[in-house]
Symmetry: C3
Subunit: 268 residues, 3 copies
């Protein structure tokens, strides 16, 4: 996927405003909705088991995010996910805090076993938690470097047939064979809560536009990372950076996206 | 209601700081609370069935908002609403996403049937969903123009004895006989999540001050729309617009409100 | 605790980035997480009874905040709190809205009776609600002056063996014998929702660094209040003040904290 294809996908996103259904955590709901709106998508948040199947059926992609998890929500995630699978709607999973508690790690496992996931996006510790025994993390922050996770990410991608995106200073995106690296981003992103979850939502917005999951994940991360770079030019303090980030998601033109995306493919 | 009465009602709001009890959705809780605080009201959020009756009894108005709905919350909405009715405390209902799923549409119906609502505020699709068969919407965004909803809004107002406010480029406010149009507002408001819900909260703040529900709804929408206009003069990107909006809600003086409110009444 | 000790504790906080486990209310989750991240701590939010014990075991302090309470959450608060007590992890309680409803007042009582709390932080009405009969408050805002609460705060501190912090124009911090007054802060803090809860989180961050609870509470309030003062120099409107507040929490250097903290100890 060249940068000119990225330009066209952003144009399409802004034209079609795909509805993205989010079952996500309380901390980031508002920020995620504003991220999606600013970039040009149409967010909806709904988690009740009575309505998630109807809501996902109206949507172009589904985000499942396991932060601030409770058991009741897992049932709704499974119901929404099964309906999404039935209808061919891509699911993007964010295993927030997997590895920190057994509820989160087990839920990641249950979702991966029960659903056909298009894309899983996490930090290195979260991704490692699914395959590796004895991984422990510090809350929701990664204690592992991205490259430590590459082999496991490729294994995970192959074993469950999904695209895996491991985010960090340089993001890795793999379907188990190809590896794309995304060089967009900025360290200030780590100083605002929910930017990982927002990156997942950005991926989901592009997954509503780009059928190939590897390309959608790369596009979503490049776009979000580029917005982070532009925001960091306006502010290096987290409050005003967060606001500049939302502004940048809205302001980036398809041409700027084409010029600014920095994706490389590993030689295979 | 002339603009001079609006000036006085804003003065009264700032003096009396009416407590507004919100049973609202997770996405907008923080933004709604900041909206109410900034304009001069006193927000409280409480949803547990064990406490909503006590909380609403301390309040000057009650917001019921059905976004991110689940069944457990509906019981609390009904309990709070019945207590509010008993005490003569006005209820302002925001039927977020009604029409998108049957849970939401049915809940709108249940609330309208079980409670005496002072004001219902929604977009055209949400308002149409209660009366019209076969309405479907795209998530929580309207797919219908405001004027498509006028006749239905008047019918709805008459049939359930409430004031109906249909928001869009020009807002319609009707009690089933009179129709007021609010010309305040700005397209940037649609780029920030929860501005519809915040407009509902603004109405509820004025409903704690102005006994006439038609006038309270018009005042709340004019005030919120004016804040949007002033914010758009400061920023045309959604992150900084959102911040400027909160600032404007706080900065508008009673005199500016008098000068800036643009309400017209349809010839009857 | 002199101001030079405050400088060192802030340095330590930034170096060690203590994980703070929050069981807190929906309204402030995002703002609290951003407060903690900005000041240099590492926030995690988790409330499910299935995981709170594991999560708190990874943490350096625990915040329990009873805003937007429901019964299910109380069980998780107790489970997390008992594990924290077992492991010697300090608990900081924020009894939001205690006195407004019997659910909140009873829950404050239950938590105080069942757990060894390190620090309780509330406004005067909330603190008074535990000991005094017939106290009623207006929603979540105080209707009592701070000094009205001093004797009760000292009684409360002695009777349940905790540090009590009563915040207002001047904050009182007492362990039942010593009384520290914090003169930092700014009236604009009252115009943003969740600043009381964020002050509690600031205390919890310092409680992860400073073993003495009285000193940790004083440090947390002085730091947060100082950030409010610096933010008020940038903006006197609540939206941009809120953003400037987050920026200030990040920007304050240990040297600025040393120079700006204004704590006094009452003669005993």
């Amino acid at each position: 996927m060249g940068n000119s294809a990225l330009k066209h996908s952003l144009k399409k996103l802004r034209d079609e405003k795909p509805l993205v259904h989010n079952i996500t955590n309380y901390v980031v709901m508002n920020f995620t909705a504003n991220t999606l709106l600013a970039m040009g998508a149409s967010p909806v948040m709904a988690h009740a088991i009575e309505e998630v199947e109807e809501m996902v059926a109206l949507s172009r992609s589904l985000v499942i995010n396991i932060g601030t998890l409770s058991r009741y929500w897992v049932d709704a995630m499974l119901a929404a996910g099964k309906k999404a699978n039935e209808l061919g709607i891509p699911i993007v999973l964010d295993p927030v805090g997997s590895g920190a508690t057994s509820l989160r790690t087990k839920t990641f496992r249950t979702l991966a076993d029960s659903l056909k996931l298009s894309i899983v996006r996490g930090n290195a510790s979260e991704i490692l938690s699914l395959l590796s025994k004895g991984i422990t993390t510090k809350g929701v922050d990664s204690v592992h470097a991205v490259d430590q996770a590459l082999a496991d990410a490729m294994d995970l991608a192959k074993s469950i047939g999904t695209v895996v995106a491991v985010t960090g200073p340089i993001d890795l995106i793999t379907d188990g064979r190809k590896v794309i690296r995304c060089h967009n981003g900025h360290p200030m992103l780590a100083s605002v809560t929910g930017t990982g979850c927002a990156a997942t939502a950005s991926i989901a917005a592009f997954a509503g536009i780009i059928p190939n999951a590897l390309e959608a994940a790369a596009a979503g991360l490049a776009f979000f990372g580029l917005a982070g770079e532009l925001a960091a030019k306006k502010s290096q303090s987290p409050g005003s950076f967060m606001i500049a980030l939302i502004d940048s998601l809205y302001e980036i033109t398809p041409e700027q996206f084409e010029a600014g995306a920095r994706l490389t493919t590993d030689p295979s």
